[in-house]
């Protein structure tokens, strides 16, 4: 990675652990909660977006498009997520240029996971302080993956990362069913966020992203989020 440091900063402790990765996970668990649910016909990404009152909430978003058919949300350090977002988009473009086909979801996940792993082993760098939830829809249908600072990834039916992940996952386990429709999944996602939400939940302090059978990833506008919140009441 860098010329000056030719040795890795992430090394094994005497008990065989990579403590820098554990500390990175700690950083993730201090980030605001993000969750995702895979329905039979799509995926919803949802996250808290609690910002200080002076910030213009339109200027940033935690949920971002990687390609037209994949999107991601993170928990943890925002600046680190931007590096992965940028790299992910470039890798997707490079894939398309070579194969003239959109990158498969699992291919996208692998690229990001590889980058994250490299930063746990290369010289002079630290691991990424983010866990990613990646949602995509390709020939294999809707797929949801989680990638951790170590670079390991798993496919999930539903998952949560960040501050509130334990409670959110318990909530999701109870409510999840394999034949959920995308609209049900969106409602469940909002309810899961609401369950652990401190204060009043509005369209300005949460974010929703969805991908449906049209295979187009979209971040919902505040107006659309408001409509869902009104239905839930």
């Amino acid at each position: 990675m860098s010329e000056q440091y030719s040795f890795s900063l992430t090394t094994f402790s005497h008990s065989g652990k990579l403590v820098q990765i554990e500390y990175a996970l700690h950083a993730v668990s201090q980030g605001s909660t993000a969750l995702a649910i895979k329905a039979k016909n799509g995926i919803v990404l949802a996250t808290e977006k609690k910002l200080p009152p002076l910030i213009d909430d339109k200027s940033i978003s935690k949920i971002n498009l990687l390609t037209p058919h994949t999107g991601m949300v993170y928990a943890g350090m925002g600046p680190d997520s931007r590096v992965l977002l940028r790299s992910g988009r470039k890798k997707a473009e490079a894939y398309f240029r070579l194969y003239k086909d959109p990158i498969p979801v699992v291919g996208m996940v692998k690229e990001l996971a590889t980058i994250m792993q490299e930063f746990t082993q290369s010289g002079g760098v630290r691991p990424f302080g983010v866990s990613l939830l990646i949602a995509g829809y390709d020939e294999k249908g809707p797929q949801l993956y989680q990638v951790d600072p170590s670079g390991s990834y798993w496919a999930w039916k539903a998952s949560a990362v960040g501050k509130d992940m334990v409670r959110a996952k318990t909530f999701l386990e109870k409510r999840y069913s394999d034949d959920m429709d995308l609209e049900d999944a969106i409602h469940t996602a909002i309810l899961t966020l609401k369950d652990g939400f401190e204060g009043q939940m509005t369209e300005h302090n949460i974010e929703l992203g969805i991908i449906g059978p049209d295979r187009q990833f979209r971040v919902l506008t505040t107006a659309q989020v408001k409509d869902y919140l009104t239905v839930i009441g």
């Binding site: 040795f7 900063l9 090394t11 009152p53 002076l54 200027s59 600046p79 630290r126």
Partner: protein, 246 residues
């Protein structure tokens, strides 16, 4: 080389501490306060105003060479807070990025793009051990043709946010408290009101009454999107009007 569990190098380079923090980044934030200055930015309905204290530490200094306000392009201004030497290096880089954008793409770089780019560069220093984070925060101001007035703050951690109003520096807590009350309910400020609010915010944190030579104020408006620094005469006029209003 000992890489102990937490008690090793986590305070010297940007690796994680056991609590998942980056101490070097946190220390960089402390360096923002080291200069003893506070900077403020406020976004109005059709203007953006930024201001900072102007302290001349030595009477022998030529005051015209002491400044924290820099124009990056004729349409984007930045106010730097923190370590002076890091500021200058940073401004040189910002100007380079803006000029490269214009050269490559043929039009003026948008404020939010430039802010995001500088934040991404700042993030690199927080992840690569061979460079320390810079001890500066930048407040960018400009008027975007599509999005209107823009106010962005970039910090040593690589954070980049758009603001309705923001403050950085020694007295940022007091300044932010003051500003939060004023922007509650999302009011639309005219250019005059925006300048007044910036001056009032500075007055609230500087506690003493100040003269036009104690502050620098920069402004862009939709009517005149060129970034310019107000002359002492103009600042005096605002101060007088503010005093008369009270």
């Amino acid at each position: 080389m000992s890489r102990g569990s937490g008690s090793g190098f986590d305070r010297h380079i940007t690796i994680f501490s056991p609590e998942g923090k980056l101490y070097q980044v946190e220390y960089a934030f402390k360096a923002l306060k080291a200069g003893g200055l506070t900077s403020i930015g406020v976004k109005g309905a059709d203007s953006v105003v930024v201001a900072t204290q102007k302290k001349i530490p030595d009477k022998l200094l030529d005051p015209s060479t002491v400044t924290s306000l820099f124009s990056i392009t004729p349409f984007i201004g930045v106010v730097q807070t923190g370590m002076i030497a890091d500021s200058r290096a940073h401004v040189a880089r910002i100007r380079h990025e803006a000029a490269t954008f214009n050269f490559k793409f043929g039009y003026e770089v948008p404020v939010n793009y430039l802010a995001r780019r500088m934040a991404d560069l700042a993030q690199v220093y927080t992840q690569h051990a061979y460079m320390r984070p810079l001890g500066v925060a930048s407040i960018f101001c400009g008027v975007d043709e599509e999005l209107g007035p823009q106010l962005y703050k970039v910090d040593p951690a690589g954070g980049c946010f758009g603001f309705k109003a923001c403050a950085v520096g020694e007295k940022e807590l007091e300044a932010n408290n003051f500003l939060e009350k004023k922007v509650k309910g999302d009011p639309k400020f005219s250019t005059e009101e925006t300048v007044m609010m910036v001056i009032q915010a500075l007055q609230a944190v500087m506690s003493a009454d100040f003269k036009a030579t104690d502050v620098e104020i920069g402004i862009v408006t939709t009517a005149d999107p060129r970034f310019r620094v107000l002359s002492s005469a103009e600042v005096d006029a605002y101060l007088t009007r503010l005093a008369e209003r009270d």
